[in-house]
């Protein structure tokens, strides 16, 4: 099978996957939100493939994306491979750290919050807290994945200054590959998560099929964030330091170690505007409650992802021609 057919299969696979989930939502509970999800998915597919219906000759959006992916896939592959090789080059355990790191982090935090601070069941009503270790681990994996991606992407333009001023490569590639390699790390840490899940006797059911969608939402959101940060840092280096403070704030503002139930009502309402809360909750529902999140939840996550991606890409595209004068 040639490489381009593989890409075609992958893209059509994703389309079928998204359509499948939205149809499932309509069948399960045919309310307004379910129909909205279905309509949006159909619109998205139409955007990708629509021009094929109008005329045979015009290339579809999908085929243009495919062409770009194919053209730069070797470069992307090399850059991602470089990230992995240099990251683990001189460590004894190598890639094994990708599994080990989230497990050890969880062990430390579990010990501190459960054994020392007796934080278990602070929320009370939330059934997810029954399995606090899993609850905690999902939060840690998702947030640290997001944070890793952002930190890597943030510096991607500035650190590649010597390349950008000497070789012509579409600049979007730099933050994209950084997010990709941190994203692969995130995907790898799903494995230790499932070890803990099985230890907790949470036998996965069909809802696990929706888990990749949750990760996909987070990755698309992170890509947008990465584009935005990497281009802003070129013009104002202060952002690098501000982001460190801001991401710590964001971490504590997200229910990772605590439950949303312990917060005052007003703060709970504000939490609706925290995209990471939605993503983490989305995955927790799948992993702990073994249920597919509602159509409304899915729609909120999708909206945050697409919105952030669009804003980030727009800012990046508007400013990329000026990078070379500032780096």
């Amino acid at each position: 099978m040639s490489f381009s057919t593989k890409i075609t299969f992958a893209f059509y696979g994703i389309i079928v996957y998204l359509l499948g989930i939205s149809i499932y939502q309509v069948i399960r509970e045919p309310n307004v939100w379910a129909y909205v999800v279905l309509a949006v998915t159909l619109l998205f597919v139409f955007w990708l493939l629509g021009s094929r219906l109008v005329s045979k000759k015009k290339p579809t959006v999908l085929s243009r994306i495919q062409a770009a992916v194919q053209r730069f896939s070797f470069l992307i592959e090399q850059l991602v491979a470089r990230d992995f090789k240099t990251k683990y080059k001189r460590s004894v355990l190598g890639i094994f750290w990708s599994f080990l790191n989230p497990l050890l982090m969880m062990a430390v935090q579990y010990f501190v919050f459960v054994n020392l601070m007796k934080l278990r069941n602070l929320g009370g009503q939330n059934p997810m807290l029954e399995h606090y270790a899993v609850y905690l681990l999902v939060g840690i994996i998702m947030f640290s994945g997001f944070n890793d991606c952002c930190n890597q992407a943030l510096r991607s333009i500035v650190y590649n200054a010597s390349l950008i001023t000497k070789v012509y490569v579409p600049k979007v590639i730099y933050p994209t590959t950084k997010v990709l390699s941190a994203g692969i790390n995130l995907a790898l840490s799903i494995l230790p998560l499932y070890i803990i899940v099985l230890i907790n006797r949470l036998w996965p059911n069909f809802s696990i099929l929706v888990l990749p969608l949750g990760i996909l939402f987070l990755m698309v959101f992170t890509l947008g964030m990465g584009y935005l940060l990497s281009s802003c840092v070129v013009f104002f280096r202060d952002i690098e330091f501000l982001w460190g403070v801001f991401s710590t704030m964001w971490m504590y503002a997200t229910p990772i170690i605590y439950d949303i139930g312990i917060l005052p009502n007003t703060v709970q309402k504000l939490m609706m505007f925290n995209p990471l809360y939605h993503y983490i909750d989305f995955v927790r529902q799948i992993v702990i409650l073994q249920q597919v999140p509602t159509a409304q939840e899915t729609m909120i996550c999708a909206a945050f992802s697409v919105g952030m991606f669009a804003v980030g890409l727009l800012v990046f595209k508007k400013t990329e021609d000026k990078f070379i004068f500032y780096i």
């Binding site: 070797f74 470069l75 592959e77 090399q78 850059l79 470089r82 090789k85 240099t86 080059k89 010597s162 390349l163 950008i164 001023t165 000497k166 070789v167 012509y168 490569v169 013009f235 104002f236 280096r237 202060d238 021609d321 070379i324 004068f325 500032y326």
Partner: protein
């Protein structure tokens, strides 16, 4: 030059101007920006790096670019290779361009020579199949077979340059942009790399070549563009332009 090659345009530089805004001091933090805005001190001078540069390069031409320091040679190369976008005008390219602006700028020093051949090749836009087929040739030309699995940080600077040169010239690109890279390695390797460049040029590659070495330009190029303070002062036959350039030097 071989008259059998059809004369067709490969690069058209059309009325290209490039302006840089020079600020009093570069503002790079929000605080500085705020205070500067408050004091209304965001002034800048406009510096014309290139003004109305207009010329055409045809297939098979070996064009030399000469001029004093700061005449805009490197800026022009960057615009032609697509790294910078000109303020005015545009550049039309008839084929893919392989820029050799600074050798080895894409190297990762923690990776081995073997891994860097693929990384650097990918950055220069080569395909995977191409690199696999040319891998042995690259290693042989660089004479680094013994050290190819050693991390680059243990290489000497000469070895680095040899590797970089071998990767960059393994292609037979339609347009090659070279910014003074012939002085690579020891004398023997310099001879070898010069021979390789000559081979590329006689193979019908279009070359745009920057050097301060007038004798080298005379030897290798058939046409020369003389840039002076961002403007084209003279275009023509290599000997003619080189003579005029040298004459101006003797006068001043």
């Amino acid at each position: 030059m071989d008259q059998g090659i059809l004369k067709e345009d490969m690069i058209r530089v059309e009325n290209v101007s490039m302006n840089f805004r020079l600020m009093n001091d570069r503002i790079s933090s929000i605080k500085e920006m705020m205070t500067a805005l408050a004091k209304r001190k965001v002034k800048f001078k406009v510096f014309h790096a290139l003004e109305d540069v207009d010329f055409t390069i045809q297939r098979g031409d070996v064009v030399g670019l000469i001029g004093h320091n700061g005449a805009g040679k490197s800026t022009l190369l960057k615009i032609i290779s697509g790294i910078m976008r000109p303020t005015k005008g545009k550049v039309w390219r008839g084929a893919n361009i392989v820029p050799m602006l600074e050798l080895g700028s894409g190297f990762d020093y923690d990776l081995s020579g073997h891994e860097n051949i693929f990384l650097n090749g990918a950055i220069l836009g080569y395909s995977k199949e191409f690199l696999h087929s040319k891998y042995d040739e690259i290693v042989a030309f660089s004479e680094l077979a013994e050290f190819i699995h050693t991390p680059l940080r243990n290489y000497s600077s000469g070895m680095l340059m040899r590797l970089a040169f071998s990767i960059a010239t393994v292609v037979e690109p339609e347009i090659l942009i070279v910014d003074e890279v012939l002085a690579v390695g020891d004398e023997r390797f310099q001879e070898k790399s010069k021979k390789r460049m000559m081979e590329l040029m006689s193979g019908g590659t279009t070359v745009l070549f920057v050097s301060h070495n007038i004798d080298q330009i005379r030897e290798m190029c058939n046409r020369v563009v003389w840039l002076d303070h961002g403007k084209v002062k003279m275009i023509g036959e290599a000997d003619e332009v080189c003579d005029a350039y040298r004459k101006q030097f003797l006068e001043s």
